[in-house]
């Protein structure tokens, strides 16, 4: 890290990471069910990406490169024994999911933009529920308590919101390509 162009290289890394961290994070969270595990992996990932950054060729696809490294981290992740494991994903399935994401990879940025627009189309109450679940990181039970609803109702509401968002994203994408 002491060589003369290290600072330019560091800057390049930080800029790329800053720009693409969200999509790398979404990738890992897609592959890993357990939230804490995913965050652990992401943390390790940032370090590995930096360590291996001299293997990254400027001008090539950073996200694609980062996804490969992230997938490797996911497959090799061993949860610390302390934590109670939540359900784990079969490595074969992880690889299938990763392949499916790679297949869609050219659209992911657009999908993310579409999602952003779709979120703004949600009615106010739905928007608040999304914020509680995803911005504040509340579990369903907490949202139920906070909003004075039953857990079942909150669960159904979230499912409906996700389904609406999913449809909206698909429609936006179709409209875009039509």
């Amino acid at each position: 890290m002491e060589n003369p162009d290290s600072s330019a290289r560091t800057e390049e890394y930080l800029l790329l990471l800053n720009e693409h961290e969200n999509s790398i994070a979404a990738y890992v969270h897609t592959l890993v069910n357990d939230h804490a595990d995913a965050e652990d992996i992401l943390q390790a990932c940032r370090l590995t990406l930096w360590k291996k950054f001299d293997q990254f060729e400027t001008g090539t696809n950073f996200v694609a490169w980062a996804r490969k490294i992230a997938l490797h981290q996911v497959l090799n992740y061993r949860r610390s024994a302390k934590r109670k494991p939540s359900y784990a994903t079969d490595p074969a399935l992880i690889e299938s999911i990763a392949a499916e994401i790679d297949r869609q990879s050219t659209q992911l940025d657009e999908r993310s933009e579409a999602l952003k627009a779709c979120l703004h189309k949600l009615p106010e109450a739905h928007r608040q529920t999304v914020l509680l679940r995803y911005f504040e990181g509340f579990e369903i039970e907490e949202i139920a308590r906070e909003t004075d609803r039953s857990e079942g109702a909150v669960y159904r509401l979230l499912s409906r919101i996700r389904s609406v968002l999913g449809k909206c994203v698909s429609e936006t994408m179709e409209a875009g390509t039509a």
Partner: protein, 459 residues
Amino acid sequence: MNPDPRIDQSLEGRLTEAEWEQFQEEMLEDGDLLAQYVEQRWLHAELLADRELMTDLASPTVTSSPPRKSDRTPWLGWAAAAVMTLLGALAFLFSGEKSVPTVATLIEAEGCRWEGSDLPTREGAKLGPGLLSLAEGMATIRFDSGATVTLEAPTRLQVDSAMRCRLLEGSVVADVPDSAHGFTIDTDRLEVIDLGTKFGVTSTPMGNSHVFVFDGEVKVLEEDQKEARHVLGGKSLHFGQSPGSPDEEVERSPLPPKPSGNWIPISTADGSGKDAFVRRDNAHNGAGSGPLLMVKHTELAAGNERRALLTFDLGSLNSDPVVKAKLSLKIEPSGLGFSSLVPDSEFSVYGLLDSATADWDENTVTWENAGIFSAEPIDTSQFSRLAGFTIPKGSAHTLIDVSSEKLAAFLSENAGSSVTLLLVRETGESDRQGLVHAFASKEHPTSPAPTLWIQTDNR
């Protein structure tokens, strides 16, 4: 086509293990099902992981620029308030705030010993910017912003303003009311910004920092890191090397001052002596070469249980009966946990009855392989409780002397060979982040090793 309900159930952790297994198998067989799953899973992950998406949503009148204060609308409620707090914190970060004459009050300072503070240290004193250096005890200051900070000795805290202080060394717990959101504690490498919470920060001279959030949320900026990290209630972050690997050159520990009379000191650094600690959930060995011997007892997080093993070579001791003996231990800050969460703590010293079973190796011993040393409860057919002692809350850098007739008798019986002592804490904690006690080991660069002081009857 309606999506498979199991997709949503899996997102919210509502499938049983068996259902999840079955669902996985079906996805591996069925490409359409997999594609559906990936689509919904990705959307969920994007919502979870893309903070930009959420900050954007929390301030709906701007679609792509960062949220502005004027965008606040009534319906936003407290989700937006969190964003505002973040903005407030950032404002503090960049405002280069000026200090004012008095910014805080020392509201509690019981049983405290201060060393080299340049601020007044009597209870009730008004504090301007300056240094507080607490050598013993616990003290609480209330900043004019409303934030209270409790110092746990040994701690050196630089008071900067009503909203900011710098932890030079030690442990503090901050309780920050709504009025003081954005209250910031700096350490050597970190900037810890409150977002409405109670949190603790430790910083050791060896460069480790530990941030623990009891309640609420803090933002942590690490030196050299562009991205801030958010820590939520019940979570903690540890920065720096893990304790146990000194970066200073190791030298033999100096002996504590010799007690008057014909006392013979034997430390774990003498002859075939050794010392180490074992921790339950740590398969790593080598805890014997660290400068600290860590001891903890907890019913809340079993993996953090720690015990120390001390072997003293009594080969130089002739068969004269031991009339008096004491074990001398130097308390050191562990940099782990907070003493406000642990009451005055009781410790026990056990002696291993059959020294032939003490064939542990300082460099490879772990909780797993420590056999009788890590057995629970302690096997009283193998160990005899020789003495107990108490470390009051907030004690630091103190030399503890433990003596008992049983200890003297035990050493007498083993003169000429070696003895192994097991050091355990009997007192648990009220929170998982309670203090880990630490004592200087023979590898500690500046403090004395565990030492037995022995007086024999050699007339």
